[in-house]
């Protein structure tokens, strides 16, 4: 949770402790994807992007702010499709930024671009975790998602990562057209079988304009019964917990001690910067001023969120797509909204300070949140089992409570 000084806008500029770098390439576009990525093209384009990332990192480094980078996440797209280039990104960070020795470094990967050689290079280069985009171990389901790997490739990629001595995170999706509860159970079992220390589970959302959304809305593909998707989410929680992989966030599960510190930063009001096209960051007002993030910051801004242009050329010319300024009241509400994504929930005092007591009491009446630890020193609000399934209601009402 962000500090009182932060909320009050009293912080000195400081280097955000978390860094996200976006590598915008994929082998092929998946049918449900609306993240920013382009099909991998010629070597020149890759070089241009890598140089751009390097330059953007150095710009931040040149600010010479106090503080060090604690976690680095190289995401995408699919960073592994550029092979060792992904490690070049890590090196650029080392050269351009104050990266703490032994920092948590995660690289995202897809099964079809994981090789023993590459994983060896990663491990040697200080990568501590690989987040593997498996989504499903069911061939039919993988087909619906328009992905290019086979279940066998996914299993062997996972083995390769573990063998290289890195932490493995397996990313899964449920609520996919054609996916049965049985198929989902098998996928969960297979994920556990890889020895993953971390699993993420997202229900599929049909984003407008994606091929899968069009196929569903034109009746080509059967839509998914939301009840079936709810059952899958509940099953995931049970099956993973039985294997010792516990939920710590609405969509993330880990063996104790293996939670992703980088992910946690997003939900706890920690500052982070995003490098590369379509990458996002969040810093306090003082840091935003030093970094020249906005022409004019309003008096009452305490927090600035920014997003790079989701287009390689625009980004190379320094294009920012969004700069959003939040007031103290908004930042406090946002912290509660994000904090409710965590199993541990949020401090009751933070809820009170954000003026959200009545809203959370309403949500409690709907059994979407509960208040725990009453009487003790730390009363907290946290999301219930029902609330995990109806996250939009919880987060939406907390963010704009004037129902």
């Amino acid at each position: 949770m962000s500090s009182i000084e932060d909320i009050a806008g009293l912080l000195e500029p400081a280097f955000p402790a978390h860094l996200y770098v976006h590598v915008p390439f994929c082998r092929m576009k998946c049918s449900y994807c609306d993240f920013y990525s382009v099909p991998i093209g010629n070597k020149d384009q890759i070089d241009v992007v890598l140089r751009g990332i390097d330059a953007e990192l150095r710009q931040w480094g040149a600010l010479r702010l106090p503080g060090v980078v604690e976690t680095l996440y190289v995401g995408g797209g699919t960073p592994t499709v550029i092979g060792p280039g992904a490690l070049q990104v890590v090196d650029s960070v080392r050269n351009g930024m104050p990266l703490r020795a032994g920092a948590d470094i995660t690289v995202e990967a897809n099964p079809d671009s994981v090789t023993g050689e590459l994983m060896y290079v990663f491990a040697m280069g200080g990568v501590t975790r690989v987040s593997l985009g498996v989504q499903s171990f069911d061939e039919k389901v993988i087909g619906v998602l328009g992905r290019v790997h086979t279940p066998e490739e996914a299993v062997s990629a996972a083995e390769t990562i573990v063998a290289a001595g890195m932490d493995l995170s397996v990313d899964l999706m449920c609520g996919i057209p054609g996916q049965s509860l049985e198929s989902w159970r098998e996928t969960l079992d297979a994920a556990i079988g890889t020895g993953a220390a971390h699993v993420s589970v997202y229900p599929l959302t049909l984003e407008e304009g994606t091929p899968l959304e069009v196929a569903v809305s034109t009746g080509l593909v059967e839509p998914v019964d939301p009840d079936a998707a709810a059952d899958m989410m509940m099953l995931a929680e049970d099956v993973l917990a039985a294997a010792g992989i516990e939920r710590y966030e609405v969509a993330n599960y880990a063996r104790p001690g293996h939670e992703s510190l980088h992910n946690l930063a997003y939900w706890t009001g920690d500052h982070y910067i995003g490098i590369g096209p379509a990458a996002h960051g969040m810093v306090d007002a003082a840091t935003a001023r030093s970094a020249g993030l906005a022409e004019a910051l309003a008096e009452d801004t305490v927090r600035v969120r920014f997003g790079n242009a989701p287009d390689i050329d625009e980004w190379l010319f320094g294009g920012r797509r969004t700069v959003e300024q939040l007031t103290a009241a908004e930042a406090m509400r946002e912290d509660v909204m994000l904090g409710l994504r965590l199993v541990r929930g949020v401090d009751a005092t933070a809820v009170a300070a954000a003026g959200l007591d009545a809203t959370l009491e309403d949500l409690a009446r709907l059994e979407l949140v509960e208040r725990v630890g009453e009487g003790g020193p730390h009363a907290r609000w946290r999301t219930t089992a029902k609330g995990w399934l109806l996250g939009n209601e919880v987060f939406g009402r907390v963010w704009s409570p004037d129902e």
Binding site: L204, L389, G391
Partner: protein, 600 residues
């Protein structure tokens, strides 16, 4: 003052979309009435909503000067009329100000229902009717077939029909020559006391009521003292002028001339359409025939989504009424929807247009309930009540009988679609009267049908079941007793008054079933299970359930893009705002219209 011998007054009439306004454009160009740079398509359709929908709603009078072959310059007063059946009264009014009519028939579509209806109006008013076969530039134009239809269906000789294209301008000069030759010059006595017909009016915020008039006898000029015969109001003439198409003042209007009159009166009730204007002293004794009052046919509840807008809604209705005498309204309150108005309209298009204008021109956010008709309820105790809203229907036990409005419907359709029409009509309690072949290609069918059935998506169904070929016209014929009941809809166990409707007792079950199914699809899942029931009195005739919502989560939040996540939440919330909370059930607006689309 123009010599009446050099004046011709005519209306352009047709079925909807046959090209009246486009022809008027060509006339304005040919006579240099509108500058090239001010010209645009259907220039006389001046309301935003007319331009957007590409239809004429309000008749427009305009004066043009035409240099004819005979070397004379004629003053032509033309009135472009709407083709849609809701606005037929505009056509009848316009015809009263004319001696002739150009009957436009689309060369591809041929004779359709309003072609027949409007031609009959013109002939009954003893007007010279000149047929025009228009859009001859179209590849599917079939002039011979259309000529045949005109002769057979309308008994108008078609060998002299003029072939025109509003697109290319072909034949337009010929049409005007024909007007000059065939339409009689106005007859009137210049020395008699003033007698002028108000055939239309509109409200101008600065000038008050502007009346459009046609002078029959005498003359009208600035500063004369005049009297409105029906209302008895005496006033001064502030200005008279002509429409070209903008208002242009002239010193006076004489026999046969068409123009506008401004008196400074602000109250539309005092300057009534259909009234006769005469001199205050020594005026005429005999008023002109005038018009039958237009009566609204369908009624719907109109409610502001945000209750705070209720006073604004009233002001907006008051303002629109200044220009639309056919609009009537009375306050209505609903348990489900709060305060609003029950508004009467001429038909469904009129209703749509008014709702859209209220929202657009006055910034209101409105919810309309399903349209209903005016029922006459005769109670056992001898009382009778007029019911415009299902929620005002008296208790069934107290009712002796209910009467509902009936129409005589005329449907024109190609012979191979007759079966489809019969099938539709049968499902709608329509009584078949007769049918005749107008030509080899067109059959005219007559039905008597309750208006309440006609407003339930009948027209769209007719179009879709006949692949767009059928056209429909109707006229009111009177009230008849029917076995009607009120069907209530219950959400979560409570009657939602705004969803109740009146239905024939034999249809209560099928309509209730279809409607509950529809509502189940429309009402989103809520935190709790929502039973939807249809009931007649205490008897439940249909039941569906909206299951409780279990899952509502957003996708992966990529690389900490919280901004986007919040935007999506805000969008979702905005979507909810557009719903109406009925008790604790969130009901989307379209639910209140769902009943309209129940083809069981």
């Amino acid at each position: 003052m123009t010599d009446p011998a050099l004046i011709r007054n005519f209306s352009i009439i047709a079925h909807i979309d046959h090209g009246k306004s486009t022809l008027a454009d060509r006339v304005l160009e040919l006579t240099h009435t509108v500058d090239g740079r001010d010209m645009k398509e259907q220039v006389l359709d001046s309301m935003d909503i007319e331009r957007e929908r590409g239809i004429t709603i309000k008749a427009q009078a305009v004066r043009v000067m035409f240099d004819a072959e005979d070397g004379q310059t004629y003053q032509l007063n033309l009135i472009d009329t709407p083709g849609h059946v809701d606005f037929t009264y505009e056509v009848s009014r316009s015809l009263q100000a004319c001696e002739g009519a150009l009957l436009v028939v689309d060369a591809g579509q041929g004779v359709e229902a309003q072609t027949v209806a409007n031609a009959q109006l013109a002939m009954n008013a003893n007007l010279e009717v000149i047929p025009l076969i228009n859009k001859i530039d179209l590849p599917q134009a079939d002039v011979e077939r259309v000529k045949h239809e005109i002769e057979e269906a309308l008994a108008i000789p078609a060998d002299e029909a003029i072939l025109t294209s509003g697109k290319t301008g072909e034949g337009v000069r010929e049409a005007l020559e024909s007007v000059v030759k065939r339409v009689p010059a106005p007859q009137g006595d210049p020395d008699a006391p003033l007698s002028a017909l108000i055939f239309d009016s509109y409200f101008d915020a600065y000038r008050g009521v502007v009346a459009l008039i046609r002078v029959i006898d005498g003359r009208i000029a600035k500063d004369l003292k005049i009297k409105m015969m029906a209302t008895g109001v005496v006033t001064d003439v502030e200005e008279v002028g002509v429409r070209r198409p903008a208002n242009k003042p002239v010193p006076e209007l004489g026999v046969g001339e068409v123009g506008y009159l401004i008196t400074g009166l602000k109250d539309p009730a005092l300057v009534r359409v259909g009234d006769t204007v005469t001199l205050a002293k020594h005026g005429t004794e005999a008023p002109l025939p005038g018009y039958r009052e237009v009566k609204p046919m369908v009624f719907t509840g109109v409610f502001p989504i945000d209750g705070d807008q209720y006073p604004d809604l009233r002001d907006a209705l008051d303002k629109l009424r200044l220009n639309d005498a056919a609009l009537i309204y009375e306050p209505e309150s609903s348990h489900a929807l709060g305060f609003g108005y029950r508004v009467g309209f001429l038909g469904l298009l009129h209703m749509e247009v008014i709702k859209e204008r209220l929202e657009r021109e006055f910034g209101l956010d409105l919810l309309a309930t399903a349209p209903s008709v005016e029922y006459h309820v005769y109670k056992a105790n001898g009382e009778s009540v007029v019911v415009h809203s299902p929620q005002d229907m008296p208790e069934p036990g107290t009712i002796e009988r209910i009467e509902e409005p009936y129409l005589r419907a005329t449907i024109l359709v190609p012979p191979d679609h007759v079966g489809a029409v019969m099938e539709l009509a049968e499902g709608r309690r329509a009584t078949f009267k007769d049918m005749q072949y107008l030509s080899k290609t067109t059959v005219e069918m007559h039905y008597e049908i309750p208006l309440g059935e006609l407003i339930m998506d009948f027209f769209d169904q007719l179009k879709s079941r006949t692949r767009g070929y059928a056209s429909l016209d109707y006229e009111y014929i009177g009230y008849r007793a029917s076995a009607l009941v009120k069907l209530d809809i219950l959400l979560a166990g409570k009657v939602v008054d705004a969803l109740s409707f009146i239905v024939h007792k034999d249809k209560a079950y099928p309509r209730g079933r279809v409607l509950t199914e529809k509502l189940r699809a429309i009402i989103p899942r809520q935190f709790f299970e929502v039973p939807i029931q249809a009931a007649v009195g205490s008897r439940i005739v249909a039941r569906e359930t909206v299951k409780a919502k279990r899952k509502d989560v957003l996708a992966k939040c990529y690389g900490g893009d919280i901004t986007r996540k919040r935007k999506l939440l805000e969008k979702q919330k905005a979507g909810k705002k557009r719903m109406k909370a009925v008790g604790n059930v969130e009901v989307p607006q379209e639910a209140f219209m769902a009943i309209l689309k129940v083809d069981e």
